[in-house]
Symmetry: C2
Subunit: 263 residues, 2 copies
Amino acid sequence: MKREVINIIKIGGKTIDHEEKLDRFLNSFSRVPGQKILIHGGGILANQIGEKMGVVTKFHEGRRITNAETLELVTMVYGGLINKKIVAKLQSQNVNAIGLSGADANLLTAEKRVVKTIDYGFAGDIQKVNNDLLQNLLSQNLTPVICPITHDGKGQLLNTNGDTIAMTIACALQSQFEVNLWLCFDKKGVLLDIKDEESIIPQLNPSTYAELLSKSLIHEGMKPKLENAFRALESGVSKIRIGSADDIDLAIANEKTGTLICA
Amino acid sequence: MKREVINIIKIGGKTIDHEEKLDRFLNSFSRVPGQKILIHGGGILANQIGEKMGVVTKFHEGRRITNAETLELVTMVYGGLINKKIVAKLQSQNVNAIGLSGADANLLTAEKRVVKTIDYGFAGDIQKVNNDLLQNLLSQNLTPVICPITHDGKGQLLNTNGDTIAMTIACALQSQFEVNLWLCFDKKGVLLDIKDEESIIPQLNPSTYAELLSKSLIHEGMKPKLENAFRALESGVSKIRIGSADDIDLAIANEKTGTLICA
């Protein structure tokens, strides 16, 4: 039996930071046929607003360290400003978008990350995806627009990486859907040489990835994204691509852009 | 045929501004039986964060004048920080809350207020409530938690008074439900003497209200709230009360608190 296709698309900061880029992406996204879910990150906007407010954010290996002040900041910026702006823009393009955090309707339950060497503060590791809710919303032709905020079910909001949310939702839905997962960022794909924008690796499987890793040819900042991609692959997600958010509709139509993650 | 009861409760800034007060209210709210909707305002939190960010907000007759900067501020604070905090807290108390702005799933379409003498900026006057959506969510035992942000359907978010949202939703649902509308604030009811907290007017009908108005016995700040209450009355909303957010579950049980708005 042919299962229904769902496109799960994650966009990052660089797409969100520029109004024009975001508009172009949302325009493209609105043309993606069938069921779809958008997950967005935050980008420099949270940092800029944080600076104005005097909130200083620390990072460790590209991951934000979330103290109480930073959690309030990202809840405001991701859950409020960015999420509602995206939803309103999509509504104007006939996409019946509904903005959600992980707390809303108990979409994503997470656990505060256990402190090992680094205390990530209010960082949440996802424990459970509310599959029934997602399927229910999708069956009503709603398009979930998900911000990277989760909760622990005990009243605490948590900050969770957007790529990880996209991956986890892809894994959760893959038993019911043929899932296409798109992890978009500001490059056209995983680059062999970070200084050469055209050095896109067309496909990566676990062994070629391991090989590149062993030769230190994978940029540090790419590792979390690739780890998420390979975890989705292991869970049976049909198609996973890492690439640019530009012209996502064309990418979905011909599927020959970016880096394909395959077995 | 006996229709199902729904309690629509609006809380204002004073309840939100104090963590302890908010917790007590949400605790109380979680015990309200049956279907329910919570609408929240913003309070001084938006002003405080605005101050930190250097955003100056102007008011006219208690209503915020929303320029572009202020709109971003309230979208962040109302739609993000306050809304998600409330949702997470309710989730921890077994209320399956879902936070929504008017843009989400096209819940509330509004029109940018036409400039007469005062330019309210990005202030939205509600045109349409998405009744089907609300009924659908309620039928799934979800509790909508609505922030005072609407949209115009053309991509523009707008700022709308929370009391007005509560009233409009009450009116929209009154044909399907027996609606109890609670407009809560920091007083125990409409006061005859603003300096005497115990001078609660037990009930007001259009003619007693007109009489008090003519004698200038209605405080300026109370007028918008009362106008909303009387508009709900005209639309056939079953019960409307103006009173304190404290112990709302007990208030709903005995219905003898605050000011009853009646025909």
